[in-house]
């Protein structure tokens, strides 16, 4: 069409889209030794996009009212054309989202890519991890099932063990002494607006810091001498392979392992007067849950977890310097390996306990 070219040129003269594409894709050089493992960031962006799109579609029918929430979710699943697919995509992608961010952070930790000048990338990554977990927790309550009601009761009650302010904190989180309509309203507002907009803003900052500092070179090679390739097509093809791999994983979960997200208690409407036996949180909170069970003092259990979180958050300022001794490196990797194995061990123990 002869009209399209002049229109595109007119837009390009004003927005310089071609120059932006060149700067971000074809002329943006990245280390040649980046592998599929280094595409987890793009997998996370893909998961976020899927969550936003499917979340908007679920909003068309979902009603955040304790008397209707369960029925509207049931309606979406059983009556709306492809409603089951939209709901399952939203629920299962949330698991993959958490898994990908865990792997992304663990990979950065192992590569020690948080060190100067990438401290802010690590900190924004930690904030994103917290936001993604908060999105999981707040979304858990929305179907108003037995599982959602009691898992939220247990999770929010954990804050109550903090001396002096614990009770008030629980009250502010829930809006009432018990999980109720006010809690559902708060969690709904957080889940569909506050958390997604925050995630979007922090992803923007994270990517900006990434462009300013450059991608960390795998294998500790010198940034100046390492061979580089254009982001497009070399890295883009790898990113696409990861995205399709992620979609395959999500669909495998939807079609072959639906019980991951929908155990028996998730199919019963919430009953505030009946706690089901052996209520457990999602897999990504199982380690925290089991830790709370094995530490005799609840406050101590929470404080120890907070300390671990704070140490991880400020890790770039604790593990400084580009060069370190072999002894220091040995201790570091031993601690990290034990921490990761301990976390997985607690998760498995929590599942079978």
């Amino acid at each position: 069409m002869p009209i399209i070219r002049p229109v595109l040129n007119w837009i390009d003269e004003r927005l310089r889209i071609h120059a932006i594409i060149r700067a971000t894709l074809t002329e943006y050089m990245v280390p040649a030794n980046l592998t599929l493992w280094h595409t987890l960031g793009f997998v996370l962006v893909t998961c976020f996009v899927i969550q936003v799109v499917t979340g908007m579609l679920l909003l068309v029918y979902y009603v955040p009212d304790t008397g209707r929430a369960f029925d509207t979710v049931k309606f979406i699943t059983n009556k709306v054309p492809y409603g089951w697919l939209i709901r399952d995509l939203h629920a299962m992608t949330s698991h993959v989202f958490v898994l990908a961010i865990f792997l992304h952070m663990a990979s950065t930790l192992w590569m020690r890519a948080y060190r100067t000048p990438r401290e802010l990338q690590w900190i924004t990554g930690m904030i994103l991890l917290g936001l993604v977990l908060a999105a999981g927790l707040s979304g858990y309550l929305l179907p108003w099932s037995q599982l959602s009601y009691w898992a939220t009761t247990v999770a929010t009650n954990a804050a109550g063990s903090i001396p002096r302010i614990g009770h008030t904190l629980v009250l502010w989180i829930r809006g009432t002494p018990n999980v109720s309509q006010y809690t559902l309203g708060r969690f709904f507002a957080m889940h569909v607006s506050i958390i997604p907009f925050s995630i979007l803003a922090v992803i923007g900052m994270h990517l900006l810091f990434l462009r300013l500092t450059g991608i960390a070179v795998p294998g500790g090679e010198d940034k100046a001498t390492v061979r580089k390739v254009p982001f497009f097509p070399h890295m883009v093809t790898k990113e696409l392979a990861s995205v399709f791999g992620t979609l395959i994983l999500v669909n495998l979960l939807i079609f072959y392992f639906p019980q991951v997200n929908f155990p028996e208690d998730a199919l019963i409407p919430a009953n505030p007067l009946e706690t089901p036996a052996h209520i457990k949180p999602h897999w990504y909170f199982l380690a925290n849950y089991q830790f709370l069970k094995i530490v005799p003092n609840e406050f101590l259990g929470i404080i120890l977890q907070v300390i671990v979180g704070v140490v991880l958050f400020f890790l770039p300022f604790l593990d400084r310097g580009k060069k370190s001794s072999r002894l220091y490196d040995g201790v570091f990797y031993t601690v990290v390996t034990l921490a990761i194995l301990g976390y997985i061990g607690l998760m498995v123990w929590g599942y079978y306990s």
Binding site: N157, S161, T176, P177, N178, S180, I279, K293, E298
Partner: protein, 169 residues
Amino acid sequence: MSDVPLDPEQRQSEPQHRDTSAQPRRNFLEWLLGVVVAVSALTFVAPMVAYLSPRRTRKGTNVLMGSDGRPVPYKELNTNPVVAGVGVNGEPTLVVKYSGEVRAFSAVCTHLGCLVKWNAAKSEFLCPCHGGVFDANGVNVSGPPPKPLKRYKVFATAEGEIGLEEVRA
């Protein structure tokens, strides 16, 4: 208005003529601007905090409400030794007839808020979430719960319903 030279060296070589008498006024204006912004922010934040503040339920004497939302008649205890419902401050409550005495406890486990169940065979309350056990007096005897169950005084109201009153420790 004179043009400022672009060359930094040329700029440095020129004499600096600054009106130092204007500095206190400038400081005051900056301070005033800060106060105006802070007060404006507060006028937005204060209503937001009030808007989000938790809803508190009424305290004091209450009656046990059943799952149907109606008060539970006291005579229910003649046929049923354990009656569950919602009591003071909307708290799930268990009223138990034990050794001829009627006792009422908050059903909320003091560990992480799951609801305990009365085990008549063992004369104890058991939490299904983390295995916490409380004796017939509501005292935590094993498992993770850090303190006893909240206890209520039970009485029959003038309307023949199960009345509850918080017992202050």
